[in-house]
Subunit: 206 residues, 2 copies
């Protein structure tokens, strides 16, 4: 059976993970939010952007997150945005389960990523993801509303937030709609580089 | 002249510093948010709650925050709530400048706290606070809207957030109304105890 179910996202200090519209997705705020990722050696290698890049704890964390992930699960909106933006060799290199109403055959990409389209809800998608993940972990990749559905359903074991030193003021909030009466947190770890603070929490039910 | 102008607050992971209504102020969520503070030796000594209490880094941070503060500045709502809740020996032990439309003579409390009521706005209050603080720092004590006014006006040098592992889902957001086009942050420090993560940022103008 699979290991843990987790998510990991970059969040602004005021709680946002994305701008309001996906047209702004590559805008200045989002670049600042994700600014710690782009120079990393692992990020550059994984997207085949070229040799070199920054090493150190941020890079180790990015690599460890990739290596623990046996399967990713994502919502339809994230898939749609990614389908336009990912290179041909999509950066997952594992099975990816897309929660969607769309019926579609599995879509196999070079480099080991195969997208499977699951039509019967988040729990069914997670069951299949667990089976496919072997002894590695299942990552709920996004977007925010999919993460929140899993969190409110009590299906997340732990999560890591890369808290970036940036304020958005508006956009998509990670925890908008959280069921605070059900979800309790235990702080597991915090470590920071000059660019970002990595915060890890275990999820408990109240 | 005074040192830095700073604020320090406890914030939930989803960005809240208080429940929606002040009636809930001593409720369960708020107790969880502030839960790292109550057992501290410094907190107990300062409010004369009794001997003993937890030592360690959280306690050192609470004590250092107190010791660096030469003057506190607060809004009228925080003062009104505090006037009902503080013990006779209010916990500041310094001058406190209250930004208000109310005209009122200085109110001196036992133990060195004197409240001064300033009627000509946040900048005038800060000017007087700086002069009174000597070489110590000025703390913008709260509430949230007063902190945000100072932050948007470019008058804060740095701030520390004690990020508690709790989700509110609703309430008063620290950064609601932030002018993200003006305020840039530089991450200065992050350290965590089992209960809370202390995050310190310097404020830069864009």
């Amino acid at each position: 059976m699979a290991g843990k179910v987790f998510f990991g996202v970059s969040m602004s200090l005021d709680g946002f993970i994305a701008p309001k519209s996906s047209e702004e997705l590559m805008g200045k705020q989002w670049m600042e939010l994700q600014g710690w990722v782009f120079p990393l050696r692992f990020f550059r290698e994984n997207l085949k952007l070229g040799k070199g890049g920054e090493e150190g704890r941020d890079n180790d964390i990015a690599r460890e997150t990739f290596e623990r992930t046996g399967v990713s699960v994502m919502g339809k909106r994230m898939f749609d945005a990614g389908e336009r933006m990912w290179p041909e060799e999509a950066p997952f290199h594992t099975p990816v389960f897309v929660v969607t109403h769309e019926k579609r055959d599995p879509w196999e990409r070079p480099g080991g990523t195969t997208f499977h389209f699951i039509n019967d809800g988040i729990e069914a998608a997670l069951d299949q993801a667990r089976m496919a993940a072997g002894d590695r972990d299942v990552r709920i990749a996004g977007g925010g509303s999919t993460i929140l559905e899993y969190l409110n359903a009590g299906l997340i074991d732990e999560f890591t937030i890369a808290l970036s030193p940036v304020l958005f003021g508006a956009g998509v909030r990670l925890f908008e709609g959280i069921d605070a009466s059900r979800v309790a947190l235990e702080q597991i770890n915090a470590e920071h580089s000059p660019k970002v603070t990595h915060l890890t929490y275990a999820v408990r039910q109240r």
